[in-house]
Amino acid sequence: MKITVKLFASVRDLCGFDEKEIIVPEGITVEEVLKRLTVSFPGLGAKRAALLCAINEEYAPPDAALAEGNVLAVFPPVSGG
């Protein structure tokens, strides 16, 4: 199935893209997508513990499963205000 990955701030800088469609197995979890990203961008490994994820603009835990067409956002701790 196809999902969209969106990256922000230092995570985008590190991976070099802000949005990409990727093909993943049905029912893949957030955690598994992050593992795949880390294979392509090893620098993500050191940040892994702090990364936050959202599915369709709602925060999602690592074990959340993705569905066809979902938008998965991956970003570092927020620092607005």
Partner: protein
């Protein structure tokens, strides 16, 4: 009145403060976050704010909803800058009005504390000799 916005234009805090308060309220509290020079011993020249805009608006809305459910907040105005913010310029304006001041202080503090925890906005500090995302401090 409820107003929740992200904007790239500079914040007009003078105009914003006038939008907060009703005849039923005795207290208007505002918090303005401003870009400050000092950070970890280095001198900041300016800031840059990036937002996941659609999600940030949703999260700000949840914060406003919770503030209004926990305290008798009449007006709730939250406007956050995106893009480049010069030294001394406001990056965020939050205004609440309440019948009494105690609940206004609590609501205002809750809103800014929660924004800093949950709203997908990131600050990059620029120095004479480089820049750094604030969540990536060494």
């Amino acid at each position: 009145m409820r107003r929740i916005e992200l904007q790239e234009a500079p914040l007009d805090t003078a105009a914003l403060v006038k939008t907060v308060g009703t005849k039923e309220d005795g207290a208007v509290l505002t918090f303005i976050g401003t870009a400050r020079r000092g950070s970890m011993g280095k001198s900041v020249t300016h800031l840059h704010y990036e937002a996941y805009e659609s999600m940030a608006i949703k999260e700000l809305g949840k914060i406003a909803d919770e503030a209004c459910s926990r305290w008798p907040v009449s007006d709730c105005v939250i406007v956050h800058r995106t893009g480049t913010v010069g030294l001394g310029e406001p990056s965020v304006f939050i205004g609440v009005s309440t019948p009494h001041r105690a609940e206004g202080f609590q609501a205002l503090q809750f809103i800014i504390d929660t924004i800093k925890k949950t709203v997908p906005i990131w600050k990059k500090e620029f120095f004479e000799d480089g820049s750094m995302w604030v969540s990536e401090r060494p």
